[in-house]
Point group: C2
Chain length 85, copies 2
């Protein structure tokens, strides 16, 4: 039971980890310190994790990585909008 | 075989995803646009993943998340050093 909670907490924390970054870029309208390489590399990684989840038919892996991919794509869009400000 | 490559690529890309961010902070000496909440939340998440990996005795999960935690701790240290510059 304790390990189920550890696993779920780990998944929830990592899945929603880029929401504070997205919120900060929107508030400050600035993104020049953020590494585009990190955003792109992490996006490719979670996209492949989601594909892998489809392959092994694991709904948690599919959902967690798809949600994280969506927030990362939002961060990339905002990076290009605000990188020079 | 193809799915093994997909899984390994996903793990390698995500594990080393914060190295470009760490490099960028060191080069620019600036970190004010980065969300500390994102760094802390992701650190807690990968720490719990590493614990979970210890529980299920999965060496890949332990190593991948420990390496990512080390780069995230480096990024947090650099954030406090350069956040006002």
């Amino acid at each position: 039971m304790i390990w189920l909670i550890v696993g779920i907490s780990a998944a929830v924390l990592t899945t929603f980890s880029f929401i504070p970054q997205v919120t900060k870029i929107i508030k400050t309208r600035s993104a020049s310190d953020i590494s585009l390489t990190t955003l792109l590399q992490l996006s490719c990684g979670v996209f492949l994790w989601a594909l892998y989840g489809l392959h092994i038919k694991d709904v948690i892996i599919i959902i967690a990585n798809s949600v994280m991919l969506a927030t990362l794509i939002t961060a990339i869009f905002l990076y290009f909008k605000y990188r020079h400000k």
